[in-house]
């Protein structure tokens, strides 16, 4: 096919929005923070190239500890979400039929179409010292004083797991759905126990869904801001909060940009590692979701 001038003009016009979008909103901004992260202030309004912002990250314990804590807690949240979501996805995909199945899936979807802030507000009303659970515990006599369930790591993990569930259930259920019932029956028929069938047949088949779910949940968790800040309070200590603090509160953009690059690196590394370990590609993984 030889491109005629009219055709290349049409192609160019069709490509223009995508190029503007990716160029102006994605590529150039990232180049900008990359450059910014390597610039140090040597005098007021004078900046020079240097690794100072990254050095600062490694020498100031608050920064790298928050970073490590964010990474570790995100992995923990992802694992917990997977364990909690798997029985639900299995039930939706392989047990529930027809109307019930559609209902269960829709009920899963509904809370997640509501703003993250609303969901977090709900947990705050439930967990805080003057909240519903504390009140109920006193009412039935299990506690004599108000109980503060908010502002600790448990509350942060609870909120993050809650926020990640849907993004785990949907890819899992999709992957499990495609498993032929006959294959499972053959597994039992050949003498497999419930556990063997789950381990040897169901879980390997659901692997693309598991990977997709874990990657999405991890990305959302590591990049979350409102949940750890609101449910963890002063103890929240999430890395995104550091970025916000540098950019908005302290107006130290180069430092914030360096933190942003580190967060991007962490998130990309885990995504890459997850894909690499299981031999999946990004395109198919995102399609699962």
């Amino acid at each position: 096919m030889i491109a005629k001038p009219a055709q290349s003009l049409t192609l160019f016009l069709l490509l223009a929005p995508a190029l503007l979008w990716l160029g102006l909103l994605i590529v150039l901004p990232h180049v900008e923070i990359l450059i910014l992260s390597f610039s140090e202030r040597v005098a007021p309004r004078v900046y020079a190239f240097g690794f100072g912002n990254y050095l600062e990250f490694f020498t100031e314990p608050l920064y790298w500890r928050t970073f490590a804590r964010t990474a570790f807690m995100s992995i923990l949240v992802t694992a917990l979400t997977l364990v909690l979501a798997f029985p639900i996805a299995l039930y939706i995909a392989r047990v529930a039929q027809g109307r019930l199945k559609a209902m269960l899936l829709l009920l899963c979807l509904l809370p997640f179409w509501v703003s993250e802030l609303v969901r977090t507000l709900g947990w705050m009303i439930l967990l805080r010292e003057t909240g519903v659970i504390s009140y109920a515990l006193r009412a039935v006599g299990l506690a004599s004083q108000p109980v503060e369930l908010l502002y600790n790591d448990g509350a942060v993990i609870l909120g993050l797991v809650y926020g990640g569930l849907l993004f785990m259930i949907v890819p899992l259920a999709n992957a499990l759905e495609s498993l032929e019932p006959a294959v499972v029956e053959a597994g039992y028929d050949l003498g497999g126990s419930r556990w063997t069938v789950l381990r040897r047949i169901v879980i390997p088949h659901a692997m693309p869904g598991i990977v997709a779910g874990c990657i999405i949940v991890f990305m959302l968790t590591v990049g979350n801001f409102a949940t750890p800040v609101l449910l963890g309070g002063k103890n929240g200590l999430w890395f995104t909060e550091q970025i916000y603090a540098q950019f908005i509160t302290r107006f130290n953009w180069p430092q914030g940009a360096a933190f942003g690059m580190l967060l991007l690196l962490l998130s990309s590394a885990i995504v890459w590692l997850g894909l690499r370990l299981t031999g999946q590609s990004l395109g198919t993984t995102l399609k699962q979701a």
Partner: protein
């Protein structure tokens, strides 16, 4: 596997309780006649929706200019985002499904990329880049360019950066299902290219266009991470809610949340109905 055990069923029930508990308490305490969204129950009231502040000292949502302004700001962002997402998403889908050129696979991958960038990073990168552009242009043109400074226009751009991926994917998926012989048939029956597009292709795409628009609307309305970094003095709803929640809010925030839930529920059911009509 077909006969679920009792524990399994119990777990399912507990799970759905867990899923809806936070939303339920938010809704219930919107009607509590109390200064704070907390127990005990002090009686039913609509004060937090329509009250003027005469009873509890703070006005209800519909009488509070701050809440109303933030809802308005959210619409000011969400409507342009949704329109642009559909428009540009359609063009992108066309590029992905119809055009042939070198580097298409690379472009398709690039289009997915925004989904794996944390929202906060998207926010700061756009903030930093547009500030530099604004500084450069201001030095050059000797005028103020507020449009590139934190504020609603920048929020629109920030949200578009990743919502475009979603809308492109939704529309491209529908376009992929399109049977090209329908276009050929229309052309064969004497229709012009423009007429084929208007009478055959776009009607076929319309469920995806509406769907992508609604999804973009919802995502824009709910976005927090990217918006937080780009917002100026005019706060959209999630930013306003965040501020209130840090300070300790009145049950008016529950009322706002309930309205939001109803809105989302409404859009979701429109969505479900159109999807059903398609089948």
């Amino acid at each position: 596997m077909n006969r679920p055990s009792f524990t399994w069923k119990l777990y399912i029930a507990a799970f759905y309780l867990f899923l809806f508990a936070p939303l339920l308490v938010v809704a219930i305490f919107a009607f509590n006649a109390s200064q704070f969204p907390s127990p005990p129950w002090r009686g039913f009231t609509l004060e937090w929706f329509t009250g003027t502040g005469a009873v509890f000292g703070k006005p209800g949502v519909l009488a509070d200019p701050i809440w109303l302004a933030s809802i308005g700001n959210s619409f000011k962002v969400a409507i342009p985002v949704a329109l642009l997402a559909v428009l540009i998403g359609t063009v992108n889908a066309w590029v992905l499904e119809r055009a042939e050129f070198r580097g298409k696979t690379f472009l398709a991958m690039m289009m997915l990329w925004p989904l794996v960038i944390p929202g906060v990073v998207l926010g700061i990168s756009i903030l930093a880049f547009f500030s530099r552009v604004a500084n450069g242009l201001e030095d050059w043109l000797q005028t103020d360019l507020d449009i590139l400074r934190p504020g609603l226009p920048l929020v629109v751009l920030g949200q578009l950066s990743f919502i475009l991926t979603i809308s492109t994917l939704i529309i491209a998926a529908r376009l992929r299902k399109f049977d090209r012989s329908l276009e050929e048939a229309a052309f064969d029956l004497g229709a012009s290219r423009a007429r084929v597009l208007r009478t055959v292709t776009l009607p076929f795409l319309s469920p995806a266009l509406i769907g992508a628009g609604l999804v973009a609307l919802l995502m824009s309305f709910e976005n927090f991470n990217t918006t937080l970094m780009l917002v100026g003095s005019e706060a959209p709803l999630p930013i306003a809610m965040y501020g209130q929640m840090r300070e300790g809010a009145s049950p008016a925030i529950n009322a706002v949340s309930l309205l939001l839930m109803l809105g989302v529920g409404g859009i979701a059911s429109v969505f479900a109905l159109t999807a059903k009509a398609e089948r």
